[in-house]
Amino acid sequence: MIALMFIQLSHPPRTVEVKGPKKAKDVLRDLNLVVEAHLVIRGDELVTEDELLSDDDQVEIRPVISGGSAPVEAHVSSLT
């Protein structure tokens, strides 16, 4: 049986399997995800994109972008 690392993704929630060892930034690149918009969490620990991820690691790639309000906002118009 081949060991793989399990990557948990969001939006929509899903799990993908990736063959390790592989650096976090390479996993992000392979999944076409931008570093600046994601965190890589191994187990419950945050890791840098240079960290080497191994087979059998439980990894979450968490998106960090939020929000949906209108792109423009004026102080005065807040109550008008």
């Binding site: 998106p63 949906g68 309000s69 008008t80």
Partner: protein, 313 residues
């Protein structure tokens, strides 16, 4: 990779600062950036009472956490928008944070439930008023935060808007040449007239990624899912574009927004207040400040009620 400051193992790399930090030094970095924002923009002092607008997301809960840890007097307001399971989950996370972190430090959580107070959830109100959901949400949240801040006599209202939010908003305003909105994009907006609470954005020096990392490292349980009503929002597209630029050229977002602030210092708080004083008057329905006879909140609620009645007839 090691921490730039203490040489122990780093947990996050910050290309825009050409640095990497361990958890302890990263927390120090985050707190330092907030202190710099508060002081440089004259947001508030240690004696001021602050009302933090919390949503259950990473930014607002991180803001409440940071302000309390820095020793500020910070209470919070949560507005339940009535978006089904999403609102239930976000309210549960806010309650958990309030009970486990904020209450032991003497802070209080206020709650406003849209379905109870406005008669329907945000989705239904938006449909009845024939307005986009995000716009309806913004109108209600801004109105209720201002109302609660004034009723409970808070000195200042703080929101969790971060560098990504402000850079994306600036990009949107520039792309559409909304110059009148550019004038109001400062991190501190004054209490221009009676009925307006002072509004500040203490996280404007920090990116979304840094704030998400702060929440993870400090075990702040926040709602990771996007608001279901925000799908396809233009702001998300602007953020995506800016993040691609940031990845290729670290520092792009801060250069864009901070550069705008530096060049825009001519629009001082005094000038904003003077402008507001000549254009604002009391809403004839609720008495809150507005440029029109009736404020946008009262118009929204009136329109929703009228639609509801005509549907029933």
């Amino acid at each position: 990779m090691n921490c730039t400051k203490c040489r122990t193992k780093a947990v996050i790399k910050l290309p825009r600062h050409n640095a990497a930090f361990c958890k302890m030094c990263f927390n120090g970095f985050i707190h330092d950036q907030v202190v710099r924002a508060v002081k440089s923009q004259r947001m508030f002092g240690k004696e001021d009472r602050i009302l933090v607008a919390v949503s259950g997301g990473k930014d607002s809960l991180a803001l409440w956490d940071i302000l309390l840890k820095l020793g500020y007097k910070a209470d919070a307001l949560y507005v339940n928008l009535g978006i089904g399971a999403y609102s239930e989950q976000s309210q549960a996370k806010v309650h958990r944070f309030a009970e486990t972190v904020a209450a032991p430090l003497g802070a209080v959580l206020h709650l406003h439930t849209v379905a109870q107070e406005e008669g329907a959830g945000i989705k239904e109100l938006a449909m009845l008023a024939h307005r986009p959901a995000c716009s309806t949400c913004g109108t209600i949240k801004r109105y209720q935060f201002n109302r609660v801040a004034l009723e409970h006599r808070y000195d200042v209202m703080a929101t969790g808007h971060n560098l990504d939010d402000e850079a994306a908003r600036l990009l949107g305003n520039v792309l559409h040449w909304q110059e009148e909105y550019l004038d109001k994009q400062a991190p501190t907006l004054p209490a221009s007239v009676d009925g307006f609470a002072k509004k500040v954005k203490p996280l404007y020096r920090l990116t979304e990624r840094e704030l998400a990392a702060y929440a993870v490292l400090n075990k702040i349980d926040y709602i990771v899912e996007e608001c279901p009503m925000a799908k396809g929002a233009r702001t998300l597209l602007y953020k995506e574009v800016l993040n691609r630029l940031e990845t290729e050229s670290p520092g792009t977002k801060q250069t864009f927004y901070w550069g705008f602030l530096e060049k825009h210092q001519r629009q001082t708080s005094t000038a904003i207040a003077a402008g507001d004083q000549t254009t604002l008057r009391a809403c004839t329905v609720c008495q809150q400040p507005t440029t029109a006879e009736i404020c946008s909140y009262c118009r929204l609620i009136a329109r929703a009620k009228a639609s509801s009645l005509s549907e029933r007839a």
